[in-house]
Symmetry: C2
Subunit: 408 residues, 2 copies
């Protein structure tokens, strides 16, 4: 909390007020800044863990969303079975932060990436690290690499779908690969992974259900190649109820652990993920019957830097600071000199974003002044998180409780 | 160049080969990685400085593009009059990196941002820091703040245009503000700033020329409020020739310094900025007559992680790693086990990008295998730079010469 941080970066300058904690509304911190609302974050962590517990499944939150070790640790402490990552340097960030099981639902390719994984396995033998394979040549390369080091790499076979992303395209392909993996030295087959989140739009639910039913059938046929418990994992933040419904009703391999991997639930958002969760609550009786619920926990605080026309305001954040691929950040609260002002719907609306600026259309009569502080909600949390090296953890009064480092 | 960096981050793991330098193609580094080609970067720095020298104007490269102190220092050493930044924490990064003049063509708003600026002025009294004002209330707030600290803030009046971004909307407004600034304590008026880069599309050139002619006229009328040399600044990486043409031909204030602020020229790109530079070379005789020229200097090295269908390959980078707002990164070279393979046009083409994956359509007969290394060119360098904490400076053989930290 030094006024001048050693390494210059965003949210670096912060002064502590005489009252104790720095406060965002009182402008004790440089703006723009990315804020995490503590209460909402903690409720989200608890809620999703309670949901998984209620369904009797395991939770491996996608840590890649936040890449914030402080959040990984909270998720693990709340009961998460693993933390999900997108690649091996993200696995390194999680493992060095104290995470005991890391699930990488992705292929491990490249000599340097394999070396990094091998080094982590050697340095942290107690950590359970799992990744995916979807073709024989890659399985053979991994086998040769890890067998030569007297190590065993734990892998899941990935099942994909036509025109999708990674993954075997048929049950037969997946089963042949599972058999090959089970016979290769240096590899240990642990189960089956799929990702239904690539499906969206009209008719997506039926496709999701078909993919998941197919995955359950493949899992049963694959069980003979897995010695210990069988891991069956899917689910992003959009279809996790459907994943539970299908898999809990299906025939399963013996000793099967179902693992959900939602990521964006952690902060929800004010856009696509809030909408997805609202749809989920409408269709899923388990979620609807639970107390509490997911809440937006990620906000952007920024300042009006120019009001050059009656109907136009320019705010001091841009593509450098926030996601813009699933809707622009929109203002949700308005403050002046620390005091809240009213913000009517349609009074102020983001219409364009540049690298360092956001352009807001304003109602002509709207009282927006240069220096006013606006709080923005965003859509798609991942791409806001990765713009920040430090996040400010705030309480309900926007006091800054902690600075959290990200590990992008 | 430790194999395991203390702080886990992208491009963290790197092994030095027996031959000496780590090599990207030999996979001594974790991929994906962002690469800066040293030769192209140095040529770009020299070329743009030579262009400014040839036109008899000053250069203030927009450092916000790269936020890479090692590049700022090279630009300054090559003759840049200042380094441009987008906000005050970027100014802090530049000043602490040894930059002697920082031009912030943007408004300074917010108590914490003002405190940071004041602290920098106090700690680095020899540094020349300039920012913009576009309205009286902000000028008064800055005046009160800096006068109370017995400091003088150097400001330029910003001239904008209707439906544009920041800036006064008329000559009269700009002149009234200049007069007010000249009479306010704690402020020193240094000149006029405008940004023609918000203009693009059909008819943009005529609008650009009109804005610049108007700015020259305002500058002449504003000259009486400026004691020392008059700074007149404009120009992004698209219209810098037109800025020179108009201003060098116009009537100017006495002792006028014209300052260009191109940013993306530093690495050019394989997309919108290469196209803009190509158009500039077609219309500008000064640039066309110069030897050498701007070259793409920023590349992304990534690995094929899955080839699940005959016509589809998945590569291990995504929106987390590269700009995607001005065209997707496209493959420009193909290597296997360190050796170049041919890459025919239309053989391989990015068609979609997700957070951690890029989807490539491939010709059915194309020999693309899991583990193959692809070099990608990107479009819009700014939004690729800000995804990386470390950039790898490489020579023409992709040996890694240095790791450069970014300061986002």
């Amino acid at each position: 909390m030094n006024r001048f941080s050693q390494a210059a970066h965003k949210a670096a300058a912060m002064s502590v007020s005489p009252e104790g904690l720095p406060n965002v509304l009182r402008e004790d911190v440089c703006l723009p800044a990315a804020l995490i609302r503590q209460q909402a974050l903690e409720e989200n962590i608890r809620w999703m863990q309670r949901y998984a517990d209620a369904r009797g499944v395991s939770l491996a939150p996608q840590g890649k969303t936040t890449m914030t070790p402080a959040i990984f640790r909270q998720q693990q402490a709340a009961g998460a079975w693993a933390i999900g990552v997108g690649n091996v340097w993200q696995a390194q960030a999680a493992i060095t932060a104290g995470i005991r099981r890391v699930l990488m639902p992705n292929q491990l390719v490249g000599q340097a990436n394999m070396r990094l994984a091998a080094g982590l396995k050697q340095a942290y033998p107690e950590v359970d690290f799992l990744c995916c394979v979807d073709e024989l040549a890659n399985a053979r390369a991994l086998s040769a690499f890890f067998a030569a080091r007297q190590q065993k790499l734990d892998v899941l076979v990935e099942l994909g779908l036509p025109n999708g992303r990674c993954g075997c395209r048929s049950a037969e392909e997946a089963l042949a690969l599972a058999q090959a993996v089970s016979e290769l030295p240096g590899l240990r087959l642990r189960g089956l992974e799929t990702y239904e989140g690539v499906l969206h739009g009209d008719g997506a639910r039926a496709q999701v259900e078909a993919l998941l039913s197919g995955a359950a059938k493949v899992a049963c046929r694959m069980a003979r190649y897995v010695e210990e418990e069988f891991i069956l994992t899917g689910a992003g933040s959009v279809w996790y109820d459907v994943v539970c419904n299908v898999w809990l009703a299906a025939e399963m391999p013996p000793r099967c652990r179902i693992v959900l991997r939602p990521g964006c639930y952690i902060t929800l958002d004010h856009g696509i993920y809030r909408e997805a969760q609202s749809e989920l609550l409408n269709r899923d009786r388990v979620a609807a019957a639970m107390s509490g619920g997911l809440q937006p926990a990620l906000e952007l605080a920024a300042l009006v830097q120019s009001v050059p026309e009656k109907t136009l305001a320019v705010v001091n954040f841009g593509k450098r600071d926030a996601a813009f691929d699933a809707g622009l950040p929109q203002p949700i609260a308005h403050y002046r000199a620390g005091r809240p002002l009213s913000l009517r719907s349609n009074e102020l609306h983001s219409v364009a974003i540049m690298d360092q600026h956001a352009i807001l259309q304003k109602a002509p009569e709207s009282d927006i002044q240069v220096g006013d502080l606006l709080i923005f909600g965003t859509s798609h949390p991942c791409l806001t998180f990765d713009k920040w090296r430090k996040l400010l953890l705030v309480d309900e009064n926007y006091n800054v409780l902690e600075e959290w480092a990200t590990a992008f």
